[in-house]
Symmetry: none
Subunit: 210 residues, 4 copies
DNA sequence: TATGAATGAGGGTTCATTCAT
DNA sequence: TATGAATGAACCCTCATTCAT
């Protein structure tokens, strides 16, 4: 109506709306990860975001839709960063693998991520759409990257040819477990991520190197 | 609770009560693992157990208490089986490790277990008592066993001395991930457990053998 | 379980339940007719019935289902009474018609009925199921009775043969209009039902007699 | 409201405002008659009128006020048309009565009218002001006209003197019932208005003619 | 001991109304 | 004047828990 052309949101109104949307997602991320999906009250989300309860429905269709957007906004950047890294990297496959896992651990260092992943796992059974979305957008893309790194190593003679056949979960499992662990058992026996990461990478390399 | 020691209940009344209690726990296990904690209705549990809804409250204080008892009752046998095996085994540390992991995978083959573990993870934040119990009774005991196996291997010269320092999660992570995986992503990319297990064991041995 | 046979509800429990059900229907009838379907709050129905809000859902599936039951319980007896009368009546067709309309007006004298019918009309557009149910169970059965009375009169030579072809709404319309009228315009120009009824019957007979 | 007398607004501004007001009323009429008062959302009305939701409140105080204005604006023309006809007519009272009813049925042929009347009936209990307005402006004026026609017929010797005493609802009821009927039971047993109308007029004349 | 009817707090969602732009 | 984003009260329905039988 007023904007001369619809260039990427420049109006005050549009910026406002985008900020609101982000605020709601942030608030929802906190609430969901602290309480789980079902136990989270939209009242609480609204309070955290400093808005009225009805406002949420101006931006999201339902609680489930909000949850999806939370996952999207939070995990997409990580996935995209990992992909970008791969393209620009020059160096040995071992070095690349090291960097890749290191990135992975850094991402998990964001305190919002582990609880989010734990929650997704917990709710996956009752929300197959979430599981599916998570697999397609995050898991399978991550695995593709890792697969390419290993192929590179096999071609260059750094890794044993059998590495190409491995279930990649064998390599990545410790990352996920470490985050879950510190979430649940930090009190009893915390994992020191720095040390754990080094052991993990060495462990993997020893298993797949020629 | 009331018995001076936990001698086996022998009266007809006590047996009857114990059977009822077990029936409720079984029904609750099914319900919880299929629907998650919050989504499970005690009505449903009562129906599955073939009793009235109010009866549940004669045996358990609350839904949360029931959940805790379900976890306890279900995981105890697993823990006990693992400990028993170790004591009676004779053979190389590699063989023992193989058997240990194999047992582990077999336990996870019980279709009730993976959803239970997933659920525990999902609800752990809101049930610290559960997380704590899970750690003390299952995780730490399980790790102790694994630690002893590795020690034996290091002593016998089969495994590298550094193996004694490893975070054991690096070794066991793939087991847990495999169960979670098949729970969530069976549709998209199922893991063949038999093959996966062999790769896993070989992977671990290659990493820790001298 | 306990009753030796399932004879018509004799247990205290069953009587209780039946009484509850009736109490809810009565309360709902009042609320619906005073406020309309949409504007009626189940909270209010519960208060009027002197029960908790959740109790309604032990007896009815939903607000709509409750509405249907209200219509059923309230209008079925009237319909059935009219049918019974017809079978037992001996006398001229004019007399029968007179009695039939008289019964009709008596039924409408029940202060619950007119508002109920007005409400059904008002909500019919948005609840076709209600309209359909109302037609099948009340309207068409009422018309069948009236049709038989007229046939009898034509056969006996009291009524003109063309009467068999008449839209019956021409005969019954004044009954319905009178109830609606006194509902809406009692203040401005009330209809005296007794006088109105006599005029109506005379009016109809004059129009259809030979 | 503000104009000293209700002279036709002539300024450009006033015309614009009047057009907007009319557009809203038209949109609201559609919405109300299709969905009923409570179920109609002002969002929907605004969309139909092609304006913003807030704009409605520049022209009407509330949803209820809008409803009243819709009824007023829609029914005024009908009332006025009926009155005009009478003054100019020359012919027998029977012919005049025929024309009068015929006009009535034509007015009801406007597809907006029957649902509006049904809705008024349905909501009348909660909107006494509407009922009152409806009576004063439409019903009583309409009855006055009919009363004059009958008087003329009695004076001319066409109609029986008792016709002057009749409740006029006995004569007009079938018109209203026919519109309600086709609204609710068109599916089950539609009324053919043309045939129905002829039967109705003949029915009435047979009842009141000498 | 066992039941299941009753309760009522609680939550997701809707929508008339307000108000900053 | 016109907009539409924001609000929050309201409402239907659920379900853990209680309690009379």
């Amino acid at each position: 109506m007023s904007a001369p052309m619809d260039l990427p949101k420049t109006g005050k109104r549009e910026l406002q709306k985008e900020a609101r949307r982000t605020a709601i997602i942030d608030a929802a991320l906190d609430a969901f990860t602290q309480q789980g999906f079902t136990a989270t009250k939209l009242d609480d989300v609204a309070d955290r975001a400093g808005i009225g309860k009805g406002t949420i429905y101006l931006y999201f269709d339902s609680k489930e839709n909000l949850f999806e957007e939370v996952v999207r906004q939070t995990l997409f950047p990580i996935r995209d960063a990992a992909a970008a890294r791969l393209d620009s990297f020059t160096g040995s496959a071992s070095e690349l693998l090291t960097v890749h896992f290191s990135d992975f651990y850094v991402a998990m260092g964001n305190p919002k991520i582990p609880p989010l992943i734990a929650m997704i796992s917990g709710e996956a059974l009752r929300f197959p759409a979430i599981a599916s979305f998570f697999y397609e957008e995050i898991i399978s893309k991550s695995q593709a990257i890792l697969r390419r790194i290993i192929s590179r190593g096999v071609e260059s003679g750094e890794f044993r040819p059998e590495a190409n056949e491995l279930y990649l979960q064998l390599l990545t499992a410790p990352v996920l477990i470490s985050t879950t662990w510190n979430l649940q058992f930090r009190e009893q026996a915390p994992i020191e991520i720095e040390k754990y990461m080094q052991m993990h990478i060495e462990f993997v390399l020893r298993a797949i190197k020629v």
